[in-house]
Symmetry: C2
Subunit: 133 residues, 2 copies
DNA sequence: CTATCAAAGACTTCACATGCCTATAATAGC
DNA sequence: GCTATTATAGGCATGTGAAGTCTTTGATAG
């Protein structure tokens, strides 16, 4: 039970992008060096973020990635869901209905966590942290 | 990012044991049939619970498993930690100190979830559910 | 046209969860 | 003491998914 490293990379990448100038996209190469991870692997993660509409990409020379407009509203939960999927922590094989007490407890606990992650926006994070790219 | 089936089995087993008569231990065979899982696999999970001090075992004829005294205070979190371990959801390779904003957000969210799981005792669960063993 | 860059897919490697089988030890009942 | 029953321990097999590499394709600025 642990978040994958891909989630770790995605969160850090998004944070880096908030500190970048919006007119100048950053290539996957630079981001990968910064994170200490291979460029090809990070590329897959970035593509997921692009498809989720959080960042946009530009092919060709002087291309790269940059945040989309509206990025201020992106939450931690958005990023995590994009990478980890939206499946629940707990899926019992036999679903005995919504009145099941075990499910209720675990799912409610999960919601508490998600509430917190949903209320933390990328903009707030960027304010707290001073990043030098 | 999902709880293992072992956690699922452990929670269900503990619930079953609350409905059992304390003087008559239940063998792993019966429990396994009830859960639809192999007895040898469930046995490993039960041994973990024994070592964690949540249940006690009796070898030999008419042996089996039963709850220990004090079982009313066992929480969901106790059971989950016993099976899944107590590692955090999020472990970045480079630990830049406790003031790191990313860590703070995720760890705080995790604590919210754990708080809820910690406040749900096995006794409360047993009250809610009518189990026939 | 060419150098640069993202996108996509196949592939390998590794870790771990799940599950099975066997041997060993302990205990109740005879 | 003997036997049946039961937990404990260990190793083995299998499957699944994460992590990472490589190669090809396609787009674009200069
Ligand atoms: S009792 Fe609840 S958790 Fe267990 S299998 Fe049924 S629905 Fe799932
Ligand atoms: S910035 Fe925070 S989350 Fe990222 S590596 Fe450093 S300590 Fe870990």
């Amino acid at each position: 039970m642990k978040y994958s490293k891909a989630t770790d990379y995605a969160l850090h990448t998004m944070l880096f992008l908030t500190a970048a100038t919006p007119n100048q996209p950053i290539g996957v190469q630079k981001l990968a060096e910064r994170l200490g991870v291979s460029a090809t692997y990070l590329s897959k993660i970035l593509t997921k973020l692009v498809k989720a509409g959080m960042i946009e990409s530009a092919s060709g020379a002087r291309g790269g990635y940059r945040l989309k407009r509206n990025w201020e509203n992106i939450s931690f939960l958005d990023i995590i869901h994009t990478i980890e999927g939206k499946a629940s922590l707990f899926d019992c094989s036999l679903d005995h209905g919504s009145e099941c007490a075990i499910q209720q407890v675990v799912l409610l606990a999960e919601e508490k966590m998600e509430d917190h992650l949903r209320n933390q926006t990328l903009a707030e994070l960027a304010k707290k942290v001073e990043v030098d790219v």
